[in-house]
């Protein structure tokens, strides 16, 4: 503080610490309320729009019915109900319904990289297996051999123990230290429906869907996870990721989406007719999902009804489940909108009450300085100087209060966001809302200060 007039304000501020503290607290509460409420409201609006625009909520999901989660259904009935197996052929349903734009299969998939850890684990298990078989033999020879320990029936998949050293040395082979990666088995229209595109390499060719060689496309963050430090992810194209499930040749890398797609990989779906029976069994137990994307969301319900008819016709009642995720999304959105609107209005009320109070407190502070104003004007201060002096006092008070308010609002907002299951960081929104509310309070405080605009120094000095 280099100006004498500023020193007057500062020292008055410090001398009246309780009052000044209350003033800052009032600002903090008003800003805190509005920053949290405003940020939440905007956040909910943004997420609603994003959610409804997302391809995942513009499609009908068809899956085999699993009653495993339904406690009312007896166990025998559950097994009975899993007769239907959905395959690529069932995507034909789309041909009969013009509103369907794309149809594809989306199955969960997992791959397990081979690395030092997994090799060590495997060595340990095979030692156990040998020991088990040896002890089995040693006991009764007449009895059928016992079962090896559970989970080891299929062995370890790809066995690379002998070539490990040369594989490690190879530039062409990627060895990942992760335990596993998640991804999807997809059919070709998946990429069109989700509007995913490659930043390097290419999408699957038609033959990739029928060949037996393993090929994968990587999401952006998974690619970054696999790429050598400091190198572009483009260098991964054509290389092979070593997994228990085999060598996975990387053919493409997707553009980043900022969505869950980024962390995953994608492999072509192959009907059991084209590939080994083993995958067919796996797919059945994993419950294939068909997706039918509809460009006109108004038609989702009617498409769902048509698909339901088609699949009942195909497999009978209660075999497949036809669901419309958008309905649930809309319910969630309606609930979140209601809550956030209420909170927003309450926070607005809080801000308004705080603004009026702050303006009133600032007014009484300035009115007590009427004599100061008179003397300052006698000594050469213009009305502009005086207005600026009080405005800067307001600014400092509001700035301090707003920082405190934002600090209150950030954890509040995170709490609320978690409660409403919203994604993404809303902290920038909190800061923007805090700035907006600070501006609103400042505007309120500027109304009373204008009262000095027409006062004569002689009148001001006469007061006490």
């Amino acid at each position: 503080m280099r100006n004498e007039s500023g020193k007057i304000m500062l020292r008055r501020f410090i001398d009246r610490l309780t009052e000044s503290g209350l003033l800052i607290l009032t600002v903090a509460l008003g800003v805190g309320a509005f920053a949290a409420g405003g940020a939440l409201f905007i956040n909910v609006q943004q997420q609603s729009i994003e959610m409804l625009n997302s391809p995942a909520y513009q499609e009908i999901v068809v899956s085999t019915r699993t009653d495993t989660e339904n406690m009312d259904v007896p166990v025998e009935a559950k097994a009975l109900n899993e007769n239907a197996i959905l395959t690529q052929a069932d995507l034909d349903a789309a041909d009969l319904i013009p509103s369907i734009e794309y149809s594809y299969i989306l199955n969960n998939s997992r791959i397990h990289p081979i690395n030092e850890d997994s090799l060590a684990e495997e060595a340990e298990k095979s030692a156990m297996r040998e020991q088990f078989q040896a002890s089995n033999k040693a006991s009764e020879d007449t009895e059928a051999p016992g079962e090896p320990p559970e989970g080891d029936k299929q062995g370890f998949g790809l066995d690379v123990t002998d070539e490990w050293d040369s594989l490690q040395a190879s530039d062409d082979i990627i060895i990942s230290q992760e335990d596993e990666y998640s991804g999807y088995e997809i059919t070709s229209e998946f990429f069109s429906a989700t509007k995913l595109a490659v930043s390097a390499g290419s999408l699957f060719s038609m033959s990739d869907y029928t060949d037996t060689a393993s090929v994968i496309i990587l999401g952006d963050t998974m690619a970054q996870n696999l790429a050598t430090e400091g190198e572009s992810t483009d260098t991964l194209i054509g290389k092979r990721l070593l997994t228990r499930e085999g060598y996975q040749t990387i053919v493409g890398i997707l553009e980043p989406t900022g969505d869950t797609y980024d962390a995953l990989y994608y492999e072509p779906y192959r009907d059991s007719a084209n590939s080994a029976g083993f995958t067919g069994i796996r797919r059945m137990s994993m419950n294939s999902e068909l997706r039918f994307s509809v460009s006109d969301v108004e038609k989702l319900d009617s498409v769902a009804a048509l698909l339901d008819d088609w699949f009942i016709n195909q497999f009978g009642e209660d075999q497949v489940n036809v669901s419309n995720p958008r309905i649930e999304a809309e319910q969630t959105i309606a609930r979140n909108n209601g809550i956030s609107l209420l909170l927003f209005i309450l926070s607005l009320a809080g801000l308004f009450i705080a603004s009026v109070n702050v303006a009133h407190m600032m007014l009484s502070r300035t009115m007590r300085m009427k004599k100061h104003v008179g003397i300052l004007m006698a000594l050469g201060a213009t009305r502009k100087n005086i207005n600026r002096l009080f405005a800067s006092e307001s600014l400092v008070v509001i700035a301090l209060g707003s920082i405190a308010g934002a600090l209150i609002a950030i954890p509040l907002n995170i709490q609320m966001k978690n409660t409403l299951e919203l994604q993404g960081s809303a902290t920038p929104l909190v800061i923007i809302s805090a700035l907006v509310s600070a501006l609103i309070i400042f505007t309120f405080t500027q109304i009373p200060i204008r009262r000095f605009d027409s006062i004569k120094p002689a009148d001001a000095m006469r007061s006490n």
């Binding site: 100006n3 020193k7 007057i8 100061h372 003397i375 006698a378 201060a381």
Partner: protein, 231 residues
């Protein structure tokens, strides 16, 4: 330097109108030392406020160096008060939050003087009025006489042409009042014009001209020797 022509000031208090000044005309020359005298309520303070552009006259013309200043915008009036006038009040009117030095520095802030120069000059002026040992004291820690000397130093900070002092010794014991009078006389000897309101005839006599007001009218304007002032 200043011409006042038919200055009237009427305070409009809804029920009554008080005529504080009634058609007062006189001139002030550069370097003069004028005492304004008159009974309580005769309009002396009102006169000083109009002279200092702290208030507007209801009627009449106020010319400073030939320019009518009553219609000047706020910014220009503030600049004149800041650079050309120095005020001394009966109740000192120092800022209680600021030390003696800072009180003296304040008018220079509005004149755009850099902080270092402000401080230098404030210290110099406080030395001049004999307060070298009270620089960093707050007004509450100073005696009345000391406070008024700080006020004089503050009035002199921007080297004014005119000092307006409304009963500068009114709140002080006689001997302290005389010290203030000595300082003002010294300031006048350096060429600064002084207009001072006083009740004290002895102080009045020290001025070079006495203007007597009665009921808002100019009763007489006489030189120190008692001769009528012609002009």
């Amino acid at each position: 330097m200043i011409q006042l022509e038919n200055i009237s000031k009427i305070y409009d208090l809804q029920e009554v109108k008080i005529t504080a000044l009634d058609n007062v005309s006189f001139n002030i020359d550069r370097g003069e030392y004028i005492a304004i005298m008159g009974p309580s309520g005769s309009g002396k303070s009102t006169m000083m406020q109009i002279l200092g552009i702290l208030d507007n006259a209801t009627n009449g013309v106020y010319k400073l160096e030939g320019y009518d200043i009553t219609t000047l915008p706020d910014k220009e009036q503030a600049r004149i008060r800041n650079k050309h006038f120095g005020f001394i009040f009966q109740s000192f009117n120092l800022f209680p939050e600021l030390s003696a030095v800072e009180n003296v520095m304040l008018p220079m802030q509005y004149a755009g003087v850099p902080v270092k120069k402000r401080k230098e000059r404030a210290i110099y002026l406080l030395n001049e009025v004999g307060l070298d040992h009270r620089m960093n004291h707050l007004p509450t820690m100073l005696s009345g006489g000391e406070q008024q000397r700080v006020a004089i130093a503050r009035a002199l900070s921007n080297e004014p042409d005119l000092i307006l002092a409304d009963e500068p010794t009114g709140n002080l014991p006689t001997e302290k009042g005389d010290e203030i009078m000595d300082i003002l006389e010294k300031v006048n000897n350096n060429g600064v014009t002084i207009v001072m309101v006083t009740h004290n005839p002895n102080q009045g006599k020290r001025a070079k001209r006495i203007i007597n007001l009665r009921d808002g009218r100019l009763e007489s304007s006489i030189t120190a020797t008692g001769a009528a002032y012609a002009k």
